[in-house]
């Protein structure tokens, strides 16, 4: 192996840091905008402060967490179907 993978990994880490800062920057701008803009939604709860942000953050966490539990229930080895040839 050459040193390229190491360099790519380092580059990706650098990229990740820049991307995180970029996201945080937009998040801060959105939070500031929320103070000045009268954002209105379909349901009254949507009008509460940063509702879509909180909803999006929690929904994402929930999906990944449920995914972890689901792995135990419906994840099988790659040869699950081929092994038994039961789908012939």
């Amino acid at each position: 192996m050459t040193d390229r993978p190491t360099k790519t990994t380092a580059d990706m880490q650098k990229l990740g840091k820049h991307f995180t800062r970029f996201l945080l920057g937009i998040a801060i701008i959105l939070a500031i905008l929320e103070l000045f803009l009268h954002r209105h939604g379909v349901a009254s709860i949507e009008d509460s402060f940063m509702f879509p942000a909180i909803f999006g953050f929690l929904a994402f966490m929930f999906i990944v967490q449920v995914g972890k539990w689901l792995r135990l229930m419906i994840m099988r080895p790659e040869d699950y179907y081929e092994g038994g040839a039961s789908d012939d």
Partner: protein, 563 residues
């Protein structure tokens, strides 16, 4: 020629493809698609009717609902021709062009029988795109796919037959769910639209098709079903429940799936859910939403499948557990993939935003808030699996040290056009809004809507960053995820085989018993007829046959005499 049903020319051209050399073949295909699209200039109306056995078969009916679907189907067919330009063999081109042609012809079917014929034609033509992969896994998946597709067609035909017997007409118009015919047709549409528990074929078969085949498959069958639902069952409330389930459930499957093309298949299912909900609402705004969503979805989903196909083509695998770090090797593909990902996630200025907004607003107008929040939740789910997982695990995540280059030029051109359309429609939605079934007075870019959507997406992305940085995001591992196809691939054989064995055992012992009875019967007869009265020269069975015949003749004689 323009009075021919659009799509038919493509099927005729597909039949000629084996005799046309490579390159010229691609030009013939693009020409056939252009000519077929030219047929749309006839505009709304009934253009070709055929009277058969007292039924009026409407072979070419165009209206404001079929038109946007026809436009996007032609665009998707052309994109696929460009994307598969490098493939020198005729077989897949033939299948893809005839498949697209059949789907376009189906859009213009004005009656259920014509619809059935093209409905089945899409099944029979598209299965070759899966078979072309050439693996035993693909072959088995193709057969399961075909069974489901044909089953859908058979149900549609059965429903049409009952409907015709009842009403004396086979016209394909709006129906009310209630009688057997409407339910059969509804389920037929539901199979192709990948309703919950009827969706196994989609995630099972699409990822097994060839690199180019999956792109073609992603465009037509399911969106044809959405069109059929919009035509036949707009405003059916069940569809809101079904659609909401379709948006939410695949999210959890996609998050743990390792095969990135299968992740996209789950994502496709989730997107269909938004359209099904919109059809279920049935208002003008909602139907516009369903059609607009189908339109933009075909482009960004094809783009995502194209980018993953390009990765598979260059690297030889599409498993998240084996991929990563390709952003330097395939930067153009990565950018196109990210554009597709941002479109499907409905970022403002991308096509998904201008379409999904219509459905969400229409749903809000109905006041069905539980469904509204399910779809809002599913929007975060879309971001997770299609917006982040696909580009992240393919192009970033871990460096796997791949030494590869960009995809072939034709693939990049196709991806470039699709990416351009995603942005163009997002920035200038007016041309799309102008071809929707109903007049649109809708402006997606109001400050409230844009900031709300940005908050949802940016903070969901921050959740991903937090999980990655805290090493809480679960690693991708080689595996299969059980889906509804498990019922017939594993459960049915496991229960069915012992059951079948038991039934066969009982049947075998019954036959054995019967054989004993038969032997005993003939033994008694033999004893009787071999008695001295029968005479030594006449064989026993012959005497018996004569006896039966004589009795029959006598009986007939008596009956005749009495009559």
């Amino acid at each position: 020629m323009t009075s021919l049903p659009p799509g038919l020319l493509m099927i005729i051209a597909a039949a000629l493809l084996p005799f046309v050399p490579h390159v010229a073949r691609q030009i013939v295909m693009l020409g056939a698609i252009a000519l077929s699209a030219y047929g749309l200039v006839l505009g709304a109306g009934t253009h070709l009717v055929w009277d058969v056995l007292g039924f009026e078969l409407v072979l070419y009916r165009a209206d404001s609902l079929s038109f946007p679907f026809a436009v996007i189907f032609h665009i998707a067919a052309a994109l696929n021709v460009i994307y598969s330009w490098h493939d020198k063999h005729w077989s897949q081109h033939c299948a893809a062009l005839s498949y697209a042609g059949a789907a376009i012809a189906a859009l213009h079917a004005g009656d259920l029988i014509t619809l059935f014929i093209w409905w089945e034609a899409t099944a029979v033509t598209s299965v070759f795109l899966i078979l072309a992969a050439g693996t035993s896994t693909a072959r088995r998946a193709a057969m399961r796919y075909l069974i489901f597709q044909v089953l859908s067609g058979v149900l549609l035909l059965a429903g049409a037959a009952i409907y015709a017997a009842k009403t004396g007409s086979v016209a394909f118009t709006s129906m009310t769910l209630g009688d057997t015919a409407s339910w059969l047709i509804f389920i037929a549409f539901g199979i192709k639209a990948a309703f919950p528990l009827l969706n196994g074929w989609l995630q099972d078969a699409y990822p097994e098709a060839t690199v180019t085949g999956t792109v073609a498959l992603s465009a037509f069958t399911t969106k044809l079903a959405i069109y059929a639902l919009a035509r036949g069952f707009a405003g059916t409330e069940y569809l809101i429940w079904i659609g909401a389930a379709m948006t939410a459930l695949p999210v959890f499957f996609a998050v743990i799936e390792n095969d990135l093309r299968r992740v996209l298949a789950f994502s496709l299912n989730n997107q269909l859910g938004f359209m099904v909900v919109a059809v279920g609402i049935g208002s003008e705004l909602a139907l516009n939403g369903a059609v607009a969503h189908a339109f933009v979805h075909i482009i960004y989903k094809a783009l995502l499948f194209m980018s993953m196909g390009a990765v598979l083509h260059q690297v030889g695998t599409i498993k998240a557990s084996e991929l990563g770090g390709l952003y330097k090797n395939m930067p153009f593909t990565m950018i196109c993939c990210v554009i597709g990902a941002m479109s499907i996630s409905a970022f403002p200025l991308f096509s998904g935003f201008v379409a999904k907004s219509l459905t969400m607003t229409a749903l809000g107008d109905t006041g069905i808030m539980w469904a509204y929040f399910v779809l809002l939740f599913a929007s975060a789910g879309v971001l997770e699996h299609s917006g982040i997982k696909i580009p992240y695990f393919a192009f970033f995540a871990h460096d796997r040290g791949f030494k590869t280059t960009e995809a072939p030029l034709n693939m990049r051109v196709a991806m470039g056009i699709a990416a351009f359309l995603c942005v163009a429609i997002g920035v200038f939605p007016a041309p799309l809004y102008n071809i929707l079934p109903y007049a649109v007075d809708y402006h997606p870019y109001d400050a409230s809507h844009v900031t709300g959507q940005m908050q949802l997406l940016i903070f969901a992305m921050l959740a991903f960053v937090v999980l990655i940085r805290m090493r809480l995001y679960p690693p991708e591992i080689p595996s299969v995820v059980l889906n509804s196809d498990w019922f017939y691939r594993r459960l049915a054989p496991q229960i069915g085989r012992p059951l079948l064995r038991a039934v066969m055992m009982v049947w075998g012992s019954f036959l054995c018993q019967m054989r004993g009875f038969v032997e005993a019967f003939w033994f008694v007869i033999d004893k009787l007829v071999r008695s001295p009265a029968a005479g030594p020269t006449i064989p026993g069975p012959a005497a018996l046959v004569q006896l039966i015949l004589l009795l029959a003749v006598l009986s007939i004689g008596y009956v005749a005499a009495i009559g």
